[in-house]
Amino acid sequence: MNMHKNLLAVATSLALVAIGGVAFAGPAAKLPSQLPPLAADKALPVPQIAQKTLANGLEVWVVPRKGLPRVDYVLAVRNAGYAADAADASGFASLYAQLLTQGTPKRDAKAIAEAAQGYGGTLAANALNDGVILSGYALPTQSEAMLRLLAEVAQQANFPDAEVKLAQANALQELKVSQAQPGFKATRALLAATYGDHPYGHTQPTEAAINAVSADKVRAEHARRFRPERALLIVTGRISADEGFKYAEAAFGGWKGSGEPIADTAPARREAKPQRLFVQRDGSVQSAVRLGRPAIAATDADYIPAQLAGIVLGGGFSSRLMQNLREDKGYTYGARGGLNALRAGGLVQASADVRNEVTGAAIGEFIYEFGKLNDYPVPAQELEDTKRYVAGGYLIGNQMQASVAASLASNWLYGLPPQFLGEYVPKVRAVGADQVQAAAKKYYATKDQSIIVVGDYKAVQSQLKEYGEFKLEK
């Protein structure tokens, strides 16, 4: 839809976890002498989080803000997402999350949607690997009512048979829509090559898994997955801590879990035999190129330096991959990469969609950039600029209350403490070039990367020989 200079969502991502970064393909450009100096940095604002745990175990964090007239709520439920899906039910969590807002004993789906609309907001749920996020927002005068609606959905969603059937039928069609997109196929192959049989390895839906869903199963899973002692409610916006706690107690104080909670996700593997996979897509005029390997969880001691290494490599518009593959070679509209670390593991990946004619050459440049990150320390100015880019990303995200809430929720799902958000920038600032290089050697070594290409095999086959024997998949 956008005719943007680049595909990066500059304005809306908090850029703390996987996005952001600056680096240069070669020596940094010489800055013009007329360029004004940077002014002194102002102090980094740190979110002030009022915390309380209700008697039923629900954690409540309130972050009062004086921004626009809106109150935001995020209910994060750990172990309720894709990682909780059975091996033969891959992608179940997304259908389940979507169905959460489709009915309670008091309101049908239409009444829920109309209520949210009338509050000047929306109520929606989505699945992540480590949990489900149910979030809503409303104008200040409607904020208490919105939290009641959110709580009603969280505690009383009843998954009407007809809604489940409709969601199933639509999901089968949506799967066809997804399968027509090169990125979907590339992700499927990459997840399998990195995470293998781990639940993180199969988060996309399949036809069989969609067909196996029933209303009874969804209701049973909801009872297992949604429970107060596994949940965090974040409240932010034009609301005081006292009000936030009062509303939360009124809306969630009576919430009880039932049965046995879901066990924690087993750790994902940290190493995998690198593979060469080619996924055939008839008629492709581009190859979707992906490199990747399993890596580490967000709570790993190497997380910060490995993250920073990824930002240098492919974190932003000025990253090495973007500068090389796009701005120097003109192979692609966008090349990016870095670490994606979650609760039970993570992966390093890099990606670009390139025209058929330069598929082999593009893989060569990826390998070159991974190698350079391993073999040489990041030059001082580039490292400093990258750290400033990370700090800026934090400040930009901190402008927006929903973004702060989303970051706090993801960190909590990963097992990071609440203060991590405010400590992230100082921690990044403390990393040296030697630590970045050490992290690169551990997690960004060329020899460890699987290479995946989705495209037209006949058109690009001859360019791939020097990168190994590619296994052809339909």
């Binding site: 005719m3 500059v10 007329q34 102002k42 239409k110 609309q117 009338g118 027509a180 581009q286 120097d328």
Partner: protein
């Protein structure tokens, strides 16, 4: 910021616009008055400032009053290619400097090309504001007209078109192809992404003359939002942009056109898609006309969210479609200054048909045309639109961009504070009138796009072309 009164009134400004409107029926605490201060520099550059010290950051947007409508004929896609070249360096700041300075200052930047304007946006810690303004002024003066970077960006733009159009199912037909069929004049109906041949034919001479003609300060608006006072911001704007001479801008052709008088039906096949889709588009009322706000509200009543009439009908009750989305050209209901479309895009089920989807749309439109919209629904939809409008102004980069766009297209940045009131004033009778006038069959253009693999004989189009 966030106050309901404007905090600054500066002496000596050419113009100051104070924000002044909030809907009467919304609760006081749900209102938001965006501070807007405007000054025009001697060279014609209009500067709009929205002060907000809640974050130590700043958003910047430079909006040029030229977009795809005004690109040279036989150079389709040129306005967008040119946008890319604005990032490719100047004699003073060669390629690489722009992105490096902004990223290294902690910022993010982007640009986009639309029918009526092209915008260049940044957000960064306020410590980088001087540098950003210096860079924007530098590329307003001149560019490094360089064959290597031209070739590089021709390649990049072609990859952009491959990744967004040629290698994607549906190929953006609901925003590219639909306008080609709905409009009569070249300015409105050519492909703004461009043909590969036209892109390849673009020359440095084209780049030079486009920059000279359309990228002068008098054809631009600078928006700044965030941790700075209007007085400081105007001073900085004058410091960095004040010495750039104004340049004469060509008189635009008359690209206005009336509503369509005969329905157009187009059938397409799609080799990559597996699920059929439909786009139905109607020409919108002119910007600022008395039907403008009613059409915006009608658009939301029909397809604004999951509570909307068409979502409930097409997706939930009749179960014909997987989704239904509303598009307003390439922008939103308020950001255009020439012929534009209200487009409904739906993926529909293989056992359904374009005709069934259209019949269901017509049914909902007819209900409104005949009986209007009940008070409860109208109130809900307006409340949501008000909140959405505020939401779009939360981030500084979007706020700077919105006030600059409004100044560019409406000649009044303070439209940002008037829109809530315009929404509030719409009545059920207004919706009836808008439905009867614009959402007619005669004013409609439809593309039915089916997977090649389905190879179903297309239903006979009633008044078909193509």
């Amino acid at each position: 910021m966030r106050t309901r009164h404007l905090s600054v009134l500066l002496a000596g400004l050419t113009t100051i616009t104070t924000a002044a409107f909030a809907p009467a029926s919304a609760a006081e605490s749900d209102r938001w008055q965006v501070p807007v201060a405007v000054k025009k520099l001697d060279n014609g550059l209009t500067v709009v400032v929205s002060e907000d010290h809640s974050s130590p950051t700043v958003g910047v947007s430079v909006v040029y009053h030229v977009g795809m409508r005004l690109e040279p004929k036989n150079r389709t896609g040129f306005a967008h290619l040119f946008e890319h070249l604005m990032f490719q360096g100047t004699p003073t700041a060669p390629k690489g400097v722009f992105d490096q300075v902004i990223s290294g200052g902690g910022g993010r930047n982007n640009g986009s090309t639309r029918a009526d304007f092209t915008n260049y946006i940044e957000v960064a810690p306020v410590s980088a504001l001087d540098r950003i303004l210096w860079l924007e002024a530098d590329r307003m003066k001149t560019l490094d007209f360089n064959p290597t970077t031209l070739k590089n960006q021709q390649d990049v733009v072609k990859e952009e078109i491959r990744v967004n159009v040629k290698n994607q199912p549906y190929g953006g037909f609901m925003w590219i192809d639909i306008g080609q069929h709905a409009f009569q004049k070249w300015e409105n109906n050519h492909d703004g992404y461009g043909s590969f041949q036209d892109l390849e034919n673009a020359s440095l001479a084209d780049v030079q003359s486009f920059h000279r003609d359309y990228y002068g300060p008098n054809n631009a608006v600078l928006g700044i939002a965030g941790d700075i006072t209007p007085a400081e911001a105007f001073k900085l704007a004058d410091k960095y942009f004040g010495a750039i001479p104004g340049r004469s801008t060509p008189t635009p052709p008359d690209y206005s056109e009336g509503l369509n008088t005969q329905e157009k039906r187009v059938n397409q096949t799609d080799a990559l898609a597996q699920v059929p889709a439909i786009a139905a588009a109607w020409k919108m009322p002119a910007r600022g006309s008395r039907d403008h706000a009613p059409m915006a509200v009608l658009g939301s009543v029909l397809a604004g969210d999951e509570a909307s009439r068409l979502y409930q009908s097409l997706v939930k009750r009749k179960q014909l479609a997987l989704s239904v989305d509303a598009l307003y050209g390439l922008t939103d209901p308020w950001t255009y200054n020439g012929p534009t479309l209200y487009t409904l895009f739906a993926l529909y089920k293989p056992d359904s048909s374009a005709d069934a989807v259209l019949a269901a749309i017509d049914e909902e439109v007819a209900k409104i045309a005949q009986g209007g919209v009940d008070a409860a629904t109208l109130k809900r939809v307006k409340t949501k639109m008000l909140a959405d409008w505020y939401n779009g102004l939360e981030s500084y980069i979007d706020r700077a961009d919105t006030v600059a766009r409004m100044q560019t297209l409406w000649g009044d940045a303070n439209v940002v504070n008037k829109i809530p009131g315009w929404i509030e004033a719409v009545t059920s009778a207004d919706l009836q009138r808008a439905a009867k006038t614009y959402l007619t069959r005669a004013n409609r253009t439809v593309i039915d796009r089916r997977p090649t693999a389905m190879a179903a004989p297309a239903a006979a189009a009633p008044s078909g072309q193509n």
